[in-house]
Amino acid sequence: MNEQKLNAKEQETNSEELSMQNGVAPLIRTTNITKSYPSGFGKVFVLRNIDLEVSEGEFITIMGPSGAGKTTLLNIIGMLDEASEGEYSFLDQDVHKLNERKRAELYKQHMGFIFQSYHLIDDLTVYENLETPLLYKKVKGAERKSMVCDTLDRFQIVGKKDLFPSQLSGGQQQLVGVARAVIAKPRLLLADEPTGNLHSSQGEEIMQLLSKLNTEGTTIIQVTHSDKKASYGNRIIYLKDGWIVDKL
C-alpha cells in the first residue's frame, strides 16, 4: 500500500509518514556497487562492492583521501553517473534498471545538488538561477514566482535577486547554490565539498544552514575532507581506495 502511494504521488509523501511505520524501506540502498574503467589490458577500480543504506532524514558525511571515490559515489547516488556493477534502489525503485528518461524524472523530482564551485549559471541573475529548476519541473508561472520569492526571503537574499553571480562573493554564491538546490523541496540533498572554496566563517554559515535543512526533514549526503564539517552530520562513511572502511 505504501508503495502504491509512493508511485502515485511521490512528492507529497513526506518523511514523517514513512518513519511512522516500522520496517520501512530505506531511501537509498546500494548493493555491491562497483565502478571501474578499462585501462590498458585491465581495469582501474574507483569503487568496490559498496553496500550502503541511507534512511530518510539522515545527514551522512562521506570522507576519505583524494582519489578514494567519494565524488564518484556521490555522483552515482545522484544518478549523474552509472555504476559498472551492482544494484541501486532509490525509493524502492531499481535505478539501474530504469531508462534514461525515467531516471531523469526521478532525480528531477527528488534531488538537489550543491557543488564546491557553486556552478551558478553566469548568464542568469540570482532570481533566474533559482527559477530554472522550477522551469524544468514545469511549475506554473504564479506558483513559481511565489516559490522563488519565498526562497529569496528564507535565505535573506531578496536584495540580491537581480544581481549576476559574478557580482556576488563566494559565500553569497554558495548561499544561492543551496537555495537553488532546495527550492524544489527535494528529498535528498547532495553536496560535494560545499564549503571547499569558502572562508571558514562563510563555511560555518553554510554548514549551519544545511544542518537546519536536515532538521526540517531533508536527507543530506555530503562529501568533505574536514572533520569539523563532518561533525554536522550524524553518520560518517569512510572510503579508501574504493572500499568502505571502518576507519581511516
Binding site: 549559471i121 542568469l124 524544468y136
Partner: protein, 802 residues
C-alpha cells in the same frame, strides 16, 4: 521558458562580443551574398516573361549548311512570316523586325546618332507586350515612313511636347511621322529598341532581299494559339522550305532547317549567330547559385566551428542545467533557438548590407537590380526563411554536440571540450579552404584568359587606329576626297576606307573557289576596302601584292584572301587562283563572276577571340565605302584628334565627329568575361574574408586552450619560432589537403568554361600552386596574430594560477 532562453542567449552574445560579432557579421555577409545572387538569378530567369503571351511566342531561327560550313542563326527571312501565317492556322500572328541600325536622328536643332533603330511590323505590338502610351496600336506602323518611339526618346527630342504627328528626320534622308509612343523596353528583355520604323518603309524603299527566302536578315517571331504544340509545327517546316527554296538550295549544294525557340528561353539558352543581345548563360546561373550556396556554407561552418570550439564556456551551463533537471531535448531546443536568434539578428545586418552592396554589385555585374520591397516582395520573408534555415543548418550540430555533455565530466572543472570534436572541425575547415582555393584558382584563370585575349596577336595593329563608321551617310562628298583631306593633317599616318573594320563583323556569302564544282559552294566572310587599308591596319601580306589604285581591273577582277582560306581550299600557291563570286545579275538572276587571287594576308581576327578565324575574301573598292580608319602618331594624340574634329566640321557641317579607337572596341568585346572576372574576384574575396573571420575566431580559441601547454613548453626551453611552428603546422597540412581536393574540381570546371573560347589558355599547375600558397599565406597571417601573441606570453602569467 522561451523568454528565459532568449534572455540567456542575448546575455551570452553580449558577454562574448567578439565571437557574436564574427557570427552575426559572418552570417549576414553570407546571407547578403546569397540574396544578391538570388536577386540577380531571379532577374535573369525573368527575361521576356513580361509579355502577356510569353508562353506562346516563338522565335524562328535557321540552320544553314553550305559545303563544309554551317551557320545557326537567330533570324528568318522576310517572306517566311507571311507564308507561315497564311499556311498554318495554328500560327495566329507573326512579327518581323530588323537588326539594330545606327542612324542620325534629327528634330529641329536636335541631332543625335541613335543606336537602337529597327524596322518592325505593326504586329510587334500584338505579339509582344510593349504598352503604347500615345497613338493607335492598331495602325501605328502600318504606313511607310511612320515611326514609334519610346518614352525616353520622346523626352529627348520633344521634351514636353506631344510627339505624335511630329516628324523626325532619320538618316538625313527621309522624314518619318511619329505615330506612337511606347513605354521604355524593360531591361529584362532579350531585345530592345529606341525607335521602331515601319516595316512598310523597307518595301517602299525596295530594299534588297525582301522577297528572297535565303536572305536571313529579319528576326521573325510567331504567336501560336493556345492548344498547339510548337514541336509539331517545327516538323512542318521542311516541306515549306522544299516548296520555296528547294531548287535554289540544290543548285548551290546547301540545306536549310528552320526551328523554333520559346521566347523566354532565348536569353539563357540560345547562343546562335546574330543574337539580338549578348544574352545570359544558364551555366553562370548555376555557377553563381553554387557560389552563393558555398559562401553561405562558409558562414555556417564558421558558426559551427566557433560554437563547438567555444563549447567549453557553455559546458558548465549544460552540466548545471542537466543537474537541475533539463533533458537533452530541452537543451537542444535552447541552443537551436540561440542560433535562430543569431540568424534573425543577422537579417537586420543583411538588409543594411544589401542596401550598401547592391549598387556595388550592379556596377560589377553590369546589372540593373534594385530591391523594391513591394515588387520583389519576397526579399524580406525570403531572408527570414533563409535565416531560419541557416539557423537550423548551423545550429544543429552545435546543439547536438553541446547537449551531449555529461554533468559528471563537465562539472569537474578541468574540462577541455575542444579536443573532443577536433576531427570534425578540421573537416569543416578543409571544406572552407577547398571553396576558397577553388574560387582563387577560378579568378586567376579568368583574368589570365582575359589578359591573354587582350594581348593576343590579332594579325593587325589595333593601337592608334581611330575609326569613324557610317561616314557615307552624312556628306555628299566622295569618300576619296574626304580621305585626301584627312591624310594631309599633322599626326595622321594613313587613312583608309572600307565597309567594315575588325570588331564590327562582316557578311558571309558563298563562293566557288578553283577546284570546287558549282554545287560545292564555300562560305566566306567578305570585306571590301581600298588600297590603303592594308597599311593603315598593319595587315601583313605573305604572298602576292596589295590592291593598286593604278590598275582599274583590280576593282572587279581581283581579290585578296587570308591564309585560312588558302588552307581550307588546299592551295599551296594561292596567288593566281580563281574564285567565282556569286552575285545577282541584271535580271536578279544569280550568276558567278570570276575573280583572281592577287594576294594573301596573314590571318587576322575580324571578331573577338571567342570565334575562330574564318576564310576571308577581300574585295577592292574606292567608292561606296562607309567607314574611315585613321592611323595616327602615338604622340600628341589629343592634338591630332582635335585637328581631325575641326576638319570634320568643314567636311560635314552640323554633324558630330563620331569616332572610336580600335583597341578600345576590341577590348570592349570581352565585357562579359570581365564582368565574370570581377564577380568571381568579389565573391572569392568575400569567401576568403569569411573564412578568415572564422579562422581568426578559431585560432583565438585554440591559442586560449593551449596557453597552458605553450607556457609549459616555454619553461622547458621552446623558442618563439618553435611555438609558432607548433601552432601553424596543422594549418599547412589542412591547406595541402584542401588544395589537393580543390585543384581537380577547379581544373575540370575551368576547362569546361574555356571551351567557349576558340583561342584559350589552359589551366596551369602553377596557378593551382599559387592559389594554394596564397590561401595558406592568408590563413597563416590570420592565425598568426593569436599564435604570436600566445607564443610571446610570459609563461609566468599563464602558469601562475595552477
Amino acid at each position: 521558458m522561451f523568454w528565459s532562453y532568449v534572455k540567456v542567449s542575448l546575455r551570452n552574445m553580449i558577454r562574448q562580443k567578439g565571437y557574436s560579432l564574427i557570427n552575426v557579421v559572418g552570417l549576414a555577409v553570407g546571407m547578403a551574398c546569397c540574396m544578391l545572387i538570388m536577386l540577380w538569378v531571379a532577374n535573369e530567369l525573368s527575361f521576356d516573361n513580361f509579355h502577356e503571351n510569353a508562353d506562346r511566342i516563338y522565335r524562328l531561327s535557321h540552320h544553314l549548311t553550305i559545303g563544309g560550313s554551317e551557320r545557326r542563326g537567330a533570324s528568318g527571312s522576310a517572306p517566311m512570316a507571311p507564308a507561315i501565317l497564311q499556311q498554318y492556322p495554328e500560327v495566329v500572328n507573326a512579327a518581323r523586325f530588323t537588326g539594330e541600325n545606327r542612324m542620325l536622328v534629327q528634330y529641329q536643332e536636335k541631332a543625335f546618332y541613335e543606336e537602337g533603330i529597327r524596322y518592325a511590323d505593326n504586329s510587334i505590338f500584338e505579339v509582344f507586350t510593349f504598352p503604347m502610351i500615345k497613338g493607335d496600336v492598331e495602325s501605328a506602323l502600318k504606313a511607310p515612313y511612320s515611326v514609334v518611339i519610346t518614352q525616353e526618346i520622346a523626352r529627348k527630342y520633344f521634351a514636353d511636347e506631344d510627339p505624335v504627328g511630329k516628324t523626325l528626320r532619320i538618316d538625313d534622308q527621309r522624314d518619318f511621322t511619329v505615330t506612337g509612343v511606347v513605354r521604355d523596353v524593360p531591361q529584362n528583355s532579350h531585345f530592345s529598341f529606341d525607335l521602331l520604323c515601319s516595316f512598310q518603309t523597307l518595301y517602299a524603299q525596295e530594299r534588297e532581299g525582301l522577297d528572297v527566302w535565303g536572305w536571313f536578315g529579319y528576326y521573325t517571331y510567331l504567336l501560336l494559339d493556345q492548344k498547339s504544340d510548337w514541336k509539331e509545327l517545327e516538323e512542318k517546316f521542311p516541306a515549306l522550305i522544299e516548296t520555296h527554296m528547294g531548287a535554289t538550295l540544290q543548285r548551290v549544294g546547301a540545306s536549310v532547317e528552320l526551328f523554333l525557340q520559346p521566347v523566354s528561353s532565348i536569353h539563357l539558352h540560345s547562343k546562335l549567330q546574330g543574337e539580338l543581345t549578348a544574352g545570359g548563360d544558364i551555366g553562370y546561373i548555376y555557377l553563381f547559385s553554387g557560389i552563393a550556396a558555398f559562401i553561405l556554407m562558409i558562414a555556417c561552418i564558421n558558426f559551427v566551428n566557433l560554437s563547438t570550439a567555444r563549447s567549453a564556456t557553455r559546458a558548465k551551463e549544460v552540466g548545471v542545467r542537466k543537474t537541475l533537471g533539463a533533458g537533452r531535448g530541452k537543451l537542444m531546443r535552447q541552443f537551436l533557438g540561440e542560433t535562430v536568434i543569431y540568424g534573425l539578428l543577422s537579417v537586420l545586418v543583411t538588409l543594411i548590407l544589401l542596401e550598401l552592396g547592391l549598387p556595388l554589385f550592379n556596377s560589377i555585374a553590369g546589372s540593373q537590380l534594385d530591391v523594391n520591397y513591394v515588387k520583389t516582395w519576397w526579399v524580406v520573408p525570403g531572408l527570414v526563411c533563409l535565416a531560419l534555415a541557416v539557423g537550423v543548418a548551423a545550429g544543429s550540430y552545435p546543439a547536438f554536440f553541446l547537449s551531449s555533455f555529461r554533468p559528471v565530466n563537465v562539472l569537474k572543472g578541468d574540462f577541455m571540450a575542444g579536443a573532443v570534436n577536433l576531427r570534425f572541425r578540421n573537416l569543416l575547415v578543409v571544406t572552407q579552404f577547398v571553396i576558397s582555393i577553388a574560387l582563387i584558382i577560378g579568378t586567376i584563370t579568368i583574368y589570365q584568359q582575359i589578359a591573354f585575349m587582350k594581348d593576343k596577336e590579332l594579325g593587325f595593329d589595333k593601337e592608334q587606329v581611330l575609326v569613324t563608321p557610317d561616314v557615307g551617310d552624312v556628306t555628299q562628298q566622295s569618300i576619296r576626297s574626304i580621305k585626301e583631306e584627312l591624310s594631309g593633317l599633322a599626326g595622321v599616318v594613313h587613312v583608309a576606307a572600307s565597309n567594315t573594320v575588325p570588331g564590327r563583323g562582316a557578311m558571309m556569302t558563298n563562293f566557288v573557289p578553283e577546284g570546287f564544282s558549282e554545287d560545292e559552294s564555300q562560305l566566306m566572310r567578305i570585306v571590301t576596302f581600298d588600297h590603303d587599308f592594308v597599311a593603315t591596319l598593319g595587315l601583313e601580306l605573305v604572298a602576292g601584292r596589295n590592291f593598286s589604285s593604278d590598275l582599274a581591273t583590280d576593282v572587279e577582277e581581283s581579290a585578296i584572301i587570308n591564309e585560312m582560306a588558302a588552307r581550307e581550299f588546299g592551295w599551296e600557291d594561292p596567288v593566281g587562283k580563281i574564285i567565282r563570286r556569286r552575285v545577282l545579275g541584271e535580271a536578279g538572276e544569280p550568276q558567278l563572276t570570276p575573280t583572281k587571287v592577287i594576294g594573301v594576308v596573314k590571318d587576322f581576327h575580324l571578331n573577338s577571340l571567342h570565334a575562330e578565324i574564318e576564310p576571308l575574301y577581300m574585295a577592292y573598292a574606292t567608292d561606296d565605302l562607309n567607314t574611315i580608319s585613321v592611323r595616327v602618331m602615338p604622340d600628341n594624340l589629343r592634338e591630332t584628334v582635335r585637328l581631325l574634329e575641326n576638319k570634320w566640321k568643314q567636311i560635314a557641317p552640323g554633324h558630330l565627329f563620331d569616332y572610336y579607337f580600335l583597341d578600345q572596341s576590341f577590348d570592349g568585346m570581352y565585357g562579359a568575361e570581365e564582368r565574370l572576372g570581377h564577380m568571381a574576384l568579389s565573391f572569392s574575396l568575400l569567401a576568403i574574408f569569411l573564412g578568415c573571420m572564422g579562422l581568426f575566431g578559431l585560432s583565438a580559441c585554440t591559442a586560449e586552450q593551449r596557453t597552458k601547454e605553450i607556457g609549459i613548453r616555454k619553461v622547458l626551453g621552446a623558442s618563439v619560432p618553435n611555438i609558432l611552428k607548433l601552432l601553424s603546422k596543422k594549418m599547412v597540412l589542412l591547406m595541402m589537403i584542401a588544395a589537393a581536393i580543390a585543384a581537380p574540381v577547379a581544373y575540370y570546371a575551368l576547362t569546361r568554361w574555356l571551351q567557349d573560347f576558340a583561342y584559350r589558355i589552359s589551366v596551369g599547375w602553377h596557378t593551382i600552386v599559387l592559389a594554394a600558397i596564397l590561401a595558406l599565406l592568408i590563413a597563416l597571417a590570420t592565425e598568426g596574430y593569436h599564435a604570436v601573441r600566445a607564443a610571446l606570453t610570459n609563461p609566468v602569467e599563464t602558469l601562475r594560477y595552477e
